[in-house]
């Protein structure tokens, strides 16, 4: 039996759900960051699945661009995390609830 398109979409939805849940319940800012990466990967999976089932390379190109955006997000996001940690000595998002330093 071949894997169907709906299997991949369902797996992607499950992974995205886990990522959303993680962003909501996690308190550590780095853990939240990793849950965002998880959501990006879930979307990538739908892109690749559609590209494979439609026989169209466009989906894979968008995965390429999503990966680039994720890399840029990682660089800037971790820079922000380091800056916050330097100012507040904490990685708890509840300690960073006001923008004023």
């Amino acid at each position: 039996m071949e894997p169907q398109l709906s299997w991949y979409l369902a797996l992607s939805a499950i992974l995205f759900t886990i990522g959303v849940t993680g962003v909501i319940i996690k308190r550590n800012i780095i853990a939240m960051f990793m849950c965002i990466e998880l959501m990006l990967n879930a979307v990538n999976l739908t892109f690749v699945a559609f590209a494979s089932f439609f026989q169209d390379v466009t989906g894979q190109l968008f995965v390429f661009i999503v990966m680039t955006v994720a890399a840029a997000e990682a660089a800037v996001g971790l820079g922000i995390i380091i800056a916050i940690f330097r100012n507040r000595e904490s990685l708890d998002v509840d300690d960073a609830s006001i923008l004023k330093l």
Binding site: L9, A10, M34, A75
Partner: protein, 170 residues
Amino acid sequence: MLALLFILFAGLAIGCALAVVAQRNPLYSAISLVGVFISLACLYVTLAAPFIAAVQVIVYAGAIMVLVVFVIMLLNVEQEDRGRARLKFLVPTAVALAAILIAEVAFILVSVQEFRVNPTGASSDIGLTHSIGSQLFTRYLLPFEITSILLLMAIVGAMTLARRAKGEQR
């Protein structure tokens, strides 16, 4: 055979993803996330996308996770303290959202039409480096160039953010 591989790697991905959320230590979360990335790369191979699978391992499991683990080590993160609860309604909200999205999964499984444009799938060359490269540098040249500008902005932004202001001492 492919279905068996799908079940194996999908189970691995879901298990590792649950571990990412369940772990208290961010370092263990990071290692679990690498597991998710690797199993997704294996799924990409079964979807006839070897280039994306390789890039997934190199960029995600390699570069991005090394950056995350580096920051975790640099900041020497302690385990999450369980003392103060966050906003009380967040956990029920998360459970409700999860229930809604799981219902969507059930909907997908029931109602998405099954089809495959090219049932054989063996003769296609999509997903090979050649076809991706030729499309990337012809039809999708503008997004590619915008991506390079985005990366440049990210480099400059990260340096600006992480730099100490002049004269600031710790």
